[in-house]
């Protein structure tokens, strides 16, 4: 999918990917890939500016944990505010999607 189209929706995509359970950056990318069936194949690094921005905005909270590998990793979780924002974005997206769907649906010729 076109990168430019994705960029405008990255915040919502990352919030949605994290809505099921807390995860670290790599797992977020994997989740996005899995749930979009590979359609959203972004440069993996682009997820970090989004995670930082959402945390700064209070939509995500982050905490450091030690992974099995012994490396430190930051795990992100959607906050209550983040869930509200995601619900709003979802409603807007559904409305938009229905409207576009209506426009793209082939018109039946009046009999």
């Amino acid at each position: 999918m076109e990168g430019e189209i994705l960029k405008g929706h990255l915040d919502m995509i990352v919030l949605a990917a994290l809505s099921a359970r807390p995860a670290h950056g790599y797992a977020v990318i994997e989740e996005i890939r899995r749930r979009s069936a590979g359609a959203f194949d972004l440069p993996e690094g682009t997820v970090y500016p989004v995670l930082h921005r959402l945390e700064q905005a209070g939509l995500l909270s982050g905490r450091w944990v030690t992974a099995d590998s012994g490396r430190r990793r930051r795990v992100y979780e959607v906050t209550r505010r983040g869930r509200r924002e995601l619900a709003e974005q979802r409603a807007v997206w559904r409305q938009f999607s229905d409207a576009i769907g209506g426009l793209f649906r082939p018109r039946r010729n009046p009999a």
């Binding site: 790599y26 993996e44 905005a57 490396r71």
Partner: protein, 230 residues
């Protein structure tokens, strides 16, 4: 290969050491996890592929830096208001001290006193009003995804408000300095004079800190020039 990449990424964010450390740790974990997920193993090729999938260090650093810049601008806004409030508290403490010591009012120090008092008060209220306006302005802007033209424009407006507030605060502090000197000249030097002198020192430090924070923001913005982070 991965350590070199991390070094480059951290170097790009060196202006914000805590962000640089955090990004290095997060990305290090990410890249090694990506390498270990490769069926081919952990060889150099696997590391190169993980880095290629991650993206250009400079582009990612630029996107991260914008968030740091936004945070710095918000911190400056809060610091400016707190420093202006600090000057107010110090002024109030000094006036209370004058009342306690029963020092003569400024009317007895000649025509200069009342003029400086009105300049000092007006400048202070201008500083406070403009400082709060700057805070509200920058706080109501979203955190941008990139250092866009629009965000640069917003930063310029915020910087103008900060400069106006700092300028008014400097005038207020300088006027305070004149008033304190007039008071001390009228009462003569004594141990009781130490508190007004100390309070002036605090006021000057507040104004100096505000300018120092502004310089910090200007330096970061200058470093990020040309990096759109798009």
């Amino acid at each position: 290969v991965i350590p070199e990449y991390l070094e480059k990424l951290a170097g790009e964010l060196a202006f914000d050491p805590s962000l640089s450390r955090r990004v290095r740790q997060e990305v290090e974990d990410h890249l090694w996890e990506a390498v270990s997920a490769e069926p081919a193993g952990e060889g150099l090729d696997a590391q190169r592929r993980a880095i290629a999938r991650f993206g250009d260090a400079r582009v990612i650093a630029a996107q991260l830096a914008v968030g740091s810049l936004a945070k710095q601008a918000r911190r400056l806004a809060i610091a400016a208001v707190l420093l202006i409030a600090g000057v107010f508290v110090v002024m109030w403490a000094r006036f209370s001290w004058y009342a306690l010591m029963q020092w003569p009012a400024l009317d007895s120090t000649g025509a200069l006193g009342p003029v400086v008092v009105s300049v000092e008060r007006s400048a202070f209220w201008v500083a406070l009003f403009v400082g709060v306006a700057g805070w509200i302005y920058i706080d109501s802007r979203g955190i941008p995804a990139a250092l866009s033209r629009e965000y640069r424009r917003q930063l310029r407006r915020f910087a103008a408000l900060c400069m106006a507030a700092a300028g008014a605060l400097i005038v207020s502090v300088a006027s305070d300095g004149v008033l304190t000197a007039l008071r001390l000249a009228g009462t003569g030097w004594s141990v009781q004079s130490l508190l007004p002198v100390f309070s002036m020192g605090v006021e000057i430090a507040c104004a100096g800190l505000m300018i120092s924070y502004m310089r910090g923001l200007a330096r970061t913005t200058w470093r990020l020039r040309g990096s759109g982070g798009q």
